[in-house]
Amino acid sequence: MMAWINQIIQGILLGGYYAIIACGLSFMFSVMRIINLAHGSLSIVAAFALWLIADRFEISPFSGLILVLPAMALIGVALQRFILEQSVRGGPLVPILSTFGLTIVIENLLFEKFGADTRSLAPLIGSLSYDSWEIGDDIYIGQLAALTFATAVVLLGGLQIFLSRTHLGRSIRATAEDADTAGLVGVNARAVNAIATAIAMTTVGVAGAFLAMRATFDPYAGSPQLIFAFEAAVIGGAGSLWGTLIGGIVLGVAQSIGAKISPQGFLISGHVVFLAILFARVYISRPAFTGRLRAVLGRSA
C-alpha cells in the first residue's frame, strides 16, 4: 500500500517537471495560437548554455540562470520578430513548418558544436541531485523533485496571476483574443507578442535547466520531451496555465502508476490516459464537463 502511495507522490512530483516543460508551449499557444515545435530544442540550447557557463567559469547552474534567462528572453524576441511574425501570416500551419525547420537547424548545429556526448548538470549541483527527505515508511521525496514541483507552482501560478491581474497581462490576453480590436484600444500587438514570446522562452530556459539537472541530455534530447509537454498542455486544456499544472500531474501519476504495474507500463499508461481524457471530453458533452471541472476547482472562466 505504501509503495502505491509512494508511486503516486513520485508521479505528482514528476508532473511538476512536465508542467514546467509544457508551460511555454501552452503559453505561446494561448497567446499567439502558435504551435512551437522548436520548444524542446530551445530548452536544450538553454541546457547547453548553462553547462558551458558552469564548465568554463565554474559558475553553478543556478547562478548561470541569471545570464541564461535574459538571453533566452532575447532569443524569444528575435524568434518572434524574424520567424513567427512572418510565418504566422501564411496561415496556422506555416509556423509548424518554420519551427520544425528551426528545430532541425538548432539540433544539428548543437551536434556540430558539441558532438553526441551526453551531458548532465547533476554533478554541478552537489548533493541536491540525490538528497531526499524520508517521510514515514518507504516514502522518499527527492529534494530536486520537490524544488522542481515548487518551481512549477510558482512559475505557472505567477504567470496566471500576471495574465489576469496586470495591465500587460490583460494586453496579452486582449491581443490573443483579437489583435485588431486590441490595436484599436491602443495595444501595440507587435510589442505584446514580442514580450509574450520572451516570457515563453524564459520558461523554456527554466525547463532546460531542470531537464539537464534531473537527467542527461544531448543535442537531440529536446524532441522526445516535446510529446510529454504537448500531452500535459492538452490534458490541461490548451491555454489554461493552472490546467497545464494539473495536466502535468495527471500525466506524471499515470506514468508512475503504469511503471508500477509493468516495466513497459510507464509510457503506455501515460499515452492511454491522455487519449482516454481526450475522448472523455468529447463524449461527455463539453460545456457540462468543463463546467463541473470548474466548479470542482473553483476557478472562474
Partner: protein, 357 residues
C-alpha cells in the same frame, strides 16, 4: 466579377489534358524502368515513389481534408509491421505488402471513429500519441522483441535483381493506384464535400454534407496509402526496427514535402517529394550539414513562400496541370492572372479561381 460576358465553368484546359496524358505516358514508360536503368537508379526511383505516395497522402489529409496530423508514422510503422508479420506467417512476400496496407486501412476505421471527433491541435497531437502507443504495443510482440526488430527474411527467396525489380514495380503500381484513386476522389462529390468541411465544418454540415463519413473516407484512404509506403519501405530496407519506422521524423518529412511543394495543391505534393528526394540525393552524404540545409530550406520556404513553390506558381500564372477543382471563366474580359481573393489565414483557397477573359 459578373461585369459583362457569360460565365463558363472550366475544369479541363489544353494544358491540363496534355499534362495528364504526359503523366500517364510517363507512368507507362516508368513501368519499363528495370529494363532501362541501372540498379542504383531503380533503387533511387523506388525511394522517390515512396516519398511521392507519402507526400500525396499527407497533402490529401491536411491540404484537402484540413486534418493536420503529426502521427501518420503510426500507419507507416504498422504497415511495415503487418507486412513482416504476414511474411513470417508464410504469406508470399510481395502480396503481403499489399495485404498489410489493406489491413492497416481496416484498422484505421475504428481509430477514425475516435480520432475524427477531435479538432485541430488535439487531433494533431492525438495522432502523435496514437503513433507512440502503436510503437510501444508493437514492441511487445515476440517477433519484434522490443527495439531489436526483425527482418523481412522471406525476401531471400528472390535473387537481388528480381527483388529490386519487383519492389520497384510494387512501388510504381501502388503509386499509380493511390494517386489515381485520390485524383478521382478529389474530383468527385466527396472531394468537394471534404474541401467544404476544411473551409468551414459547421457551414458544410448545414448544407447537408455528412461531415464524419466524408472525413472518414479521406482518413482511411491516407492511412492505407501511408501503410503501403511503410510496407514498401520495409521491402527496400529489409530490416524492421520499430524506433525507425515509428519515428516522428516521417511526419516531419511529409510536412516538409507538402509545405515546400504547396499545401492543398495536387501537383505541389509531388513536386515537394521530388525536391526532398533531390536534396537527399545530392547532400545526404554530407551528414549534419545536409540536415541543417533541410531545416533551413523548410524555414526559408515558410518565411518567403508560405503557399509553397507550386502554390506560388499557381497564384502567379494560374496554371493547373492536374485539375481537381473548377474555375470560373468570364467571357469578354482579357485574361490576367489573379491572386487568391484577399489574404486570409487558414488553409489555402479552394481550387476555384476566377480568371477573366
Amino acid at each position: 466579377m459578373t461585369s459583362g460576358g457569360t460565365i463558363t465553368v472550366e475544369r479541363w484546359t489544353a494544358a491540363s489534358i496534355a499534362s495528364v496524358v504526359i503523366v500517364v505516358a510517363g507512368m507507362v514508360l516508368l513501368a519499363f524502368g528495370p529494363f532501362l536503368f541501372g540498379a542504383n537508379t531503380v533503387d533511387k526511383l523506388t525511394t522517390l515513389f515512396i516519398y511521392v505516395i507519402m507526400a500525396a497522402m499527407w497533402n490529401a489529409l491536411a491540404g484537402y481534408g484540413g486534418l493536420v496530423s503529426v502521427g501518420q508514422q503510426a500507419f507507416f510503422g504498422l504497415g511495415a509491421y503487418a507486412a513482416a508479420r504476414l511474411a513470417d506467417a508464410g504469406v508470399a512476400v510481395y502480396p503481403s505488402l499489399f495485404i498489410a496496407a489493406a489491413l492497416v486501412g481496416l484498422l484505421s476505421l475504428p481509430i477514425s471513429a475516435f480520432m475524427l471527433r477531435l479538432r485541430a491541435g488535439e487531433f494533431a497531437i492525438g495522432m502523435w500519441v496514437v503513433a507512440e502507443l502503436a510503437h510501444l504495443l508493437v514492441n511487445l510482440d515476440n517477433l519484434v522483441q522490443g527495439e531489436t526488430g526483425t527482418s523481412l527474411i522471406a525476401l531471400n527467396v528472390y535473387a537481388t535483381d528480381a527483388r529490386r525489380a519487383l519492389t520497384y514495380w510494387s512501388a510504381l503500381g501502388a503509386l499509380a493506384v493511390l494517386l489515381g484513386v485520390l485524383f478521382l476522389l478529389l474530383r468527385s462529390r466527396v472531394g468537394i464535400a471534404i474541401q467544404a468541411i476544411r473551409d468551414n465544418e459547421e457551414a458544410a454540415a448545414a448544407i447537408g454534407v455528412r461531415v464524419l463519413a466524408t472525413k472518414r473516407i479521406i482518413f482511411v484512404l491516407t492511412a492505407t496509402g501511408v501503410a503501403m509506403a511503410g510496407a514498401l519501405w520495409l521491402a527496400t530496407t529489409i530490416s524492421f526496427q520499430p524506433k525507425t519506422y515509428f519515428s516522428v521524423q516521417w511526419s516531419a518529412y511529409m510536412i516538409f514535402m507538402v509545405l515546400v511543394g504547396g499545401l492543398g495543391t495536387f501537383e505541389g505534393a509531388i513536386l515537394g517529394a521530388v525536391i526532398f528526394f533531390l536534396i537527399e540525393a545530392w547532400f545526404g552524404a554530407s551528414g549534419v550539414w545536409y540536415l541543417i540545409g533541410l531545416g533551413a530550406t523548410a524555414l526559408l520556404c515558410s518565411l518567403f513562400l508560405p503557399r509553397g513553390i507550386w502554390g506560388s506558381l499557381e497564384d502567379r500564372f494560374g496554371i493547373r496541370l492536374l485539375p481537381v477543382g473548377y474555375r470560373l471563366k468570364l467571357a469578354g474580359i482579357p485574361e490576367f492572372p489573379q491572386k487568391p481573393l484577399g489574404e486570409r489565414p487558414g488553409p489555402p483557397m479552394p481550387d476555384i479561381h476566377c480568371s477573366r477573359q
